[in-house]
Symmetry: C2
Subunit: 186 residues, 2 copies
């Protein structure tokens, strides 16, 4: 899927690197910025990534893949409740750590099909873990599949609103999630 010509491939990588930097700095990711910091023309950036969202989703893809991977692992755990709780913890930690992930998670319409696939997979895994925990009687029966993502987004948003420098966010997010999990537990 990456371009054929060497320079194009190199630039693609470079743009992605710069974008990752900007996202990590907390900058709103403007394609002009990316172009300038990458030392490339605006046109080049736009050809590789037609919109800001496309770039953002591409930046977030590795993280989404990592989360999907963790989901696979979680399914192999013995304790249904612990597997469920661990998975949610991963999801929240990911979002709190990575600004790109938050935005991608909160968007209903994706521009990359890869993103849609990964989100679907993450959701499906969550649903399985939820079902397992519910069948084991460890999670309340009124929790629905499509509540999981919103709740995770809610927690990272709460953490964000709570303020504090990004460094201190993880403990806050864990605390909030812990509270939520107590509420979800049967």
């Amino acid at each position: 899927m990456t371009p054929q010509r060497k320079d194009a491939a190199r630039n693609w990588e470079h743009i992605l690197t710069v974008a990752r930097e900007l996202v990590d700095e907390g900058t709103p990711l403007q394609l002009n910025d990316v172009a300038r910091r990458a030392g490339l023309g605006v046109g080049t950036v736009y050809r590789h990534f037609p919109t800001t969202e496309a770039l953002l989703e591409t930046v977030a893809t590795p993280c989404l893949e990592a989360l999907a991977g963790h989901g696979e692992q979680a399914l192999t755990h013995d304790d249904p409740w612990q597997a469920f709780a661990d998975y949610l913890t991963r999801l929240v930690e990911g979002q709190v750590t990575d600004a790109a992930l938050v935005k991608v998670a909160a968007t209903a319409e994706d521009v990359l099909t890869r993103t849609t696939e990964l989100k679907a997979q993450i959701l499906a895994t969550g649903a399985k873990l939820l079902a397992r925990a519910r069948d084991a009687g460890t999670v309340r029966p009124d929790v629905r599949d499509d509540d999981l993502v919103p709740l995770m987004c809610g927690i990272s948003y709460a953490t964000y609103v709570h303020g504090a420098n990004p460094a201190d966010r993880l403990p806050t997010a864990r605390r909030y999630l812990e509270t939520l999990l107590r509420g979800l537990h049967a």
Copy 2:
């Protein structure tokens, strides 16, 4: 604080009305829009409300005042836990019902001092109710004052991410809050 001249006062009201309409429609509140729909020049709108935030906060003020009022009432309730829970319910319901409130609540820096005052008051009431419930042993001791607003914002955000048309939001928000409250309860 409203302008002196009659036409100015009339326009001020008119702008506010139009802004309220736009917010209720879910439109992102652009001052150019407001001007056009109010049949006024852009300059006029900008003179009355120097920034989008100023207008937004003014739109939200009545709701904030209502919430502050509810807080006063809640303090007179007998059951500490119920008073606390009811208050949080009010806060969430407000945010879910009113798009202006969400944005104002989530912003740390206010442009209107009135907004800051009201938010401080709402926060202070929440802190009192929390302290009372904690002293009664009905709420977990590790919940902090400055967690309340973030958590409420988190719930309304979760509700928003969950999607569904605005009409169906209230039940979802109540469900989420219920879960959270179970987690907060000692």
